[in-house]
Symmetry: C2
Subunit: 237 residues, 2 copies
């Protein structure tokens, strides 16, 4: 995103894509919800052409599912797919954090510590999600790598909704371990110990994946749209 996003569309398509992406990430549109082109066109004051460009951009981001001659839905993941995403993240994010650490300045590291503390103190779920996202993405900001960075960014976006659902589930519960891991990560980063940061991060992601597997109900169909919207693409093979 970020870097490559700027130069994507003339202007309208990119604007619609950015706004719609934001709307999906904040939960305004739920997974499985039908998206009609004319609705978006009216909402953003444009014709259907740039809307379709935006939908394709978001499809590439994994936030929207398109079916030819039928329509678009907010992407949804099955439990198996979400698990898969987490396994991918377990492999890629350690690589990214290791290449990022040498590029992180003292100021950034202090900010990371602030974020970890702030997260621990807060109680609001939405605030936690926002801070958590900022924390991790900031920890990757030292990497110059465009491709890997964008890829990880996409993975975060596609799993955003399920992170929210899970966080809401254990709201007020014992998620102290999350904050401990964050502080451990900051410590490893401050020590410029890439290997240790990798270890902590693997555990962090893996633990979340195992927790998610305990809650298959998060992936049930909520009947928000008419057609399942992905959920099982295998029937097309």
């Amino acid at each position: 995103m970020s870097a490559t996003e700027v130069l994507r569309e003339g202007v309208t398509g990119a604007r619609i894509a950015a706004e719609l992406r934001s709307a999906i990430l904040t939960g305004e549109y739920a997974p499985g919800a039908r998206i009609r082109q004319e609705d978006l066109a009216a909402r953003y004051g444009a014709s259907r052409v740039p809307v379709r460009e935006a939908l394709r951009i978001l499809e590439a981001d994994g936030l929207v599912t398109l079916v030819a001659n039928t329509g678009a839905w907010v992407a949804r993941l099955s439990l198996a797919e979400c698990e898969e995403m987490y396994r991918i993240r377990e492999k890629l994010e350690p690589l990214l954090i290791a290449t990022s650490i040498p590029g992180l300045g003292d100021q950034t590291i202090r900010r990371l510590e602030e974020l970890a503390t702030e997260m621990e103190a807060g109680t609001d779920v939405e605030a936690f999600l926002r801070l958590d996202r900022e924390f991790h993405l900031l920890s990757y900001s030292g990497a110059e790598t465009t491709l890997l960075g964008d890829l990880v960014h996409r993975l975060w976006n596609t799993t955003q909704h399920y992170r929210r659902a899970y966080t809401l589930l254990l709201d007020g519960g014992s998620n102290r371990i999350v904050h401990d891991e964050h502080h451990l990560l900051v410590t490893a980063i401050a020590a410029h110990d890439g290997e240790d940061a990798e270890r902590v991060l693997i555990g962090h992601i893996r633990r979340t994946r195992l927790q998610l597997e305990l809650h298959p109900e998060l992936f049930d169909d909520l009947g928000t749209g008419r057609t399942p919207a992905s959920q099982n693409r295998k029937d097309l093979l």
Copy 2:
């Protein structure tokens, strides 16, 4: 691709995307080459609208670089970006092969062995590239995973050109080790030894990456287009 490809465009956009993708992968269009929308429209007998859809699909695949209000070019990688792709592959393909092995039937494994042998016997570069691609992708076909499979598929596509350039470079040279690794991989797969397959595959990809780093001239600008087309996106930050 494959699975999700079918349901992408009404029909024209998908057709153009598929044909253009094929043209890029076979080397008909070189990295950095300018792509004009009207040329494609004329070539495929359609208007510019589905052409733009196709370009966006291929941009998501990493095969095309779009710049707003300016144009499209066949994507090119810098040495650093290519290295990055290979580091990503080193992490993801072992994961994929491990999940694929339990799903591979005896017939598929025999076919893998055939391919490894056929590659060893052949001398034509294009034939080698085709067989190598078929070999590896077939070795991943046991995985039901849609997301990881498609992702790896994309990684193969974006690095295809540089695999070709490198293979041409050492044409006739001592690439025996490649074939040895392929046979080792088949052996591990036949033994249903996921861990061993992971090890061999990591070495296989890593060795290629190290070789590529010795040949930065493969990434020089060949002057095929007017504007660099990516090559350094950092100036946009």
